[in-house]
């Protein structure tokens, strides 16, 4: 393959190579889909069991654990889910705004300092949650904050902003600086240039990062544990307890609900975005 000239003279070799390309790519992509889906399928099937515990394969199928999940007996789960959703939403939004601004500052600069700053901003991702949770608890109480939902949110913002920063920076790397210069020289304000040029380019990265930030917050155990207060019951901690002590099937049902909600959300967004696109054209 390194020898380009010989390839040109051998079209049959080239078509063979192209066939091998397709075979390779599609086989591995298929394997990737299998790996991605395997555990999800197992959890979904398990969540439909008619048995008493998380067990695979289930003895029979039923929707009882979903009914159970929506019954009054699951009120503590609902409250925990409410807290977790609120914290995740606020954290993801804050991370999107803070991370997007910071990545704009870093990506447009060629200074050495920007690179250093970039890696510093990434460091919360590398510090294990349990160590940050402990340090944050000691620090926050030292400066006079009591554990609360607000404090958990601050802790989560710290932990999840790097996701937005990384994905947005990756998208920004493709932004052609001359576009912005053109726009500015044509008299556009900076805000206008951002909205019409930068934002559309970084939008996929921003959404991807925001989504990862949201899910990382929803699933965070250690920071929430160290900073929790009597009113800040969080979903993953509750699920953890249920798994450890009783193999409660509702923890699989919760994931089932998550998957269905995101599916619905994606369909709805697709409708809205699709609609707006059609209107704009």
């Amino acid at each position: 393959m390194s020898d380009k000239t010989s390839l040109k003279h051998l079209p049959s070799y080239k078509s063979l190579a192209d066939a091998s390309y397709s075979a390779c790519i599609y086989t591995v992509a298929g394997l990737a889909l299998l790996i991605l889906l395997g555990p999800v399928v197992i959890v979904l099937i398990t969540s439909l069991t008619d048995g008493q515990t998380l067990r695979f394969p289930p003895t029979g199928l039923s929707l009882r654990w979903y009914q159970e999940l929506f019954s009054a007996r699951s009120t503590p789960i609902h409250r925990a889910a409410g807290n977790s959703l609120l914290v995740a939403l606020v954290s993801a939004l804050a991370a999107a705004v803070l991370g997007c601004m910071a990545s704009l500052a870093i990506a447009r600069s060629r200074r050495r300092g920007a690179r250093v700053m970039d890696s510093l901003f990434m460091s919360p991702l590398i510090l294990p949650g349990i160590a940050f949770g402990l340090a944050a608890l000691v620090y926050f109480t030292m400066i006079g904050f009591r554990p609360s939902l607000a404090l958990i949110t601050i802790g989560h913002i710290v932990m999840v902003t790097p996701f937005v920063l990384r994905t947005t920076s990756a998208s920004l790397a493709q932004l052609d600086g001359t576009l912005l210069e053109c726009s500015a020289s044509l008299g556009a304000t900076r805000w206008y240039s951002f909205r019409r040029i930068t934002l559309p380019i970084i939008f996929p990265g921003l959404v991807a990062g925001g989504f990862m930030a949201f899910m990382a917050s929803i699933d965070n155990v250690p920071v929430s544990l160290f900073l929790s207060s009597p009113r800040s019951d969080m979903l993953p901690i509750r699920l953890w307890g249920m798994m450890e002590s009783t193999l409660d099937v509702r923890i699989a049902a919760v994931s089932g609900i998550f998957i269905v909600s995101v599916l619905v959300l994606m369909l709805v967004m697709e409708r809205l975005v699709g609609l707006s696109r059609r209107l704009n054209d």
């Binding site: 048995g51 008493q52 515990t53 998380l54 067990r55 695979f56 503590p76 609120l86 939403l89 606020v90 402990l134 608890l137 000691v138 926050f140 109480t141 030292m142 009591r146 554990p147 609360s148 939902l149 607000a150 949110t153 544990l225 160290f226 929790s228 207060s229 009597p230 009113r231 800040s232 019951d233 901690i237 509750r238 953890w240 307890g241 249920m242 798994m243 450890e244 002590s245 009783t246 193999l247």
Partner: protein, 343 residues
């Protein structure tokens, strides 16, 4: 209508609502509330259903629960420096000693509890009072073995060892079980060396060396068929249809207590005592012992049904351990265990 304004108003409204939800109402010392730390999971569920209800009925006190593992209770109390966010701790023996050494408890006055009369003598002390007993022994899948194991040493022999699920020193039940295994091979509370020697011999055959939290899943999915655990876990799993039986080791069932303590600097000391008193009351202890929670009682009036003893006084004859001896050695044991099992 200007859509811009409505959207902004909407966002502002949502923001205010979010902020309100985020900052807990400053529930200041209103009469009748107690805040307790509680283990997440079964403990919290049981206490929310049974204890909180009873406390409201008998004393009109509202129980606030803060789900925290032992480490988080100690970390929060240490960080708070005498101004803890909860009034009572719930701890196993190891963390209890750590907390005593860190001076996190108020002196406990058992005479303030009406139900202390139903406890065996010596159970309550100046640090706190037990609220639940744990009985630790061997658990196995009866479908997988012709004969049940009889004692700790059996775990290291075939056919058991190749189906054994081993856990280390990170839990209370794991630590005391390993000490009993060490004793079976000639060791003691202060010397677990014989356990490590035997472990070295059988290590390649052991089915699973897992995290305690994953043991129920591993057991149910057939990755291991024999392990050590407490009667609460066995009761819970069996009631849910898992094939599991509890074996009393020939050398005796191990017992230890989960204890409650008043936090130093607690806001609601009176209510905290009332809360603990409610936990210890006969009907509450009886309910906590029943399906689905299976929490062994400490109150002598409770009918003991399925438990490996017929009367609370027998607890004195069961195998107990001195955690002030264990704690100083635990760090070394954990490290040793890591090194021994690391592949």
């Amino acid at each position: 209508m200007n859509p811009h304004i409505t959207r902004r108003q909407l966002l502002a409204g949502a923001g205010v609502m979010g902020a309100c939800a985020m900052f807990p109402k400053l529930a200041l010392a209103q009469q009748g509330s107690a805040t307790t730390a509680i283990y997440p999971g079964a403990w919290e569920e049981a206490y929310r259903g049974i204890v909180a209800e009873a406390l409201r009925e008998t004393h009109g006190i509202d129980l606030q629960m803060q789900p925290l593992f032992a480490v988080d209770q100690i970390a929060q109390a240490r960080a708070a420096r005498g101004n803890p966010s909860f009034d009572t701790f719930v701890l196993d023996p190891g963390p209890r000693v750590t907390a005593i050494e860190s001076g996190l408890f108020d002196t406990f006055d058992a005479s303030r509890l009406e139900n202390s009369a139903h406890l065996e003598p010596g159970m309550a002390d100046e640090h706190g009072v037990p609220v639940a007993a744990q009985f630790v022994g061997i658990a196995y899948n009866p479908n997988r073995f012709d004969e049940p194991p009889t004692d700790w040493a059996d775990l290291f022999e075939e056919p058991y060892v190749s189906r054994l699920g081993l856990t280390g020193f990170q839990t209370t039940f794991g630590t005391v079980s390993i000490i009993e295994m060490a004793k079976a091979f000639g060791g003691s509370e202060e010397n677990v060396e014989p356990f490590f020697e035997e472990l070295q011999r059988v290590l390649p055959h052991v089915a699973t060396i897992g995290t305690p939290a994953s043991m129920p899943s591993l057991f149910q999915q057939g990755q291991c068929d024999i392990m050590y655990t407490n009667t609460q876990t066995v009761g819970t799993l069996r009631a849910r249809g898992v094939d599991i039986e509890f074996v009393r080791p020939a050398s005796g069932v191990i017992t230890f207590f989960t204890t409650m303590h008043i936090a130093r600097g607690a806001n609601e000391v009176d209510n905290a005592y009332k809360y603990i008193d409610t936990v210890l009351s006969t009907p509450v202890q009886q309910q906590l012992m029943a399906d689905p929670y299976f929490m062994a009682p400490v109150n002598s009036e409770v009918d003991l049904a399925d438990l490996p003893l017929s009367d609370m006084s027998e607890i004195a004859n069961m195998v107990q351990h001195d955690w002030s001896l264990i704690n100083p050695r635990r760090a070394e044991w954990i490290e040793r265990f890591n090194r021994e099992v690391a592949s």
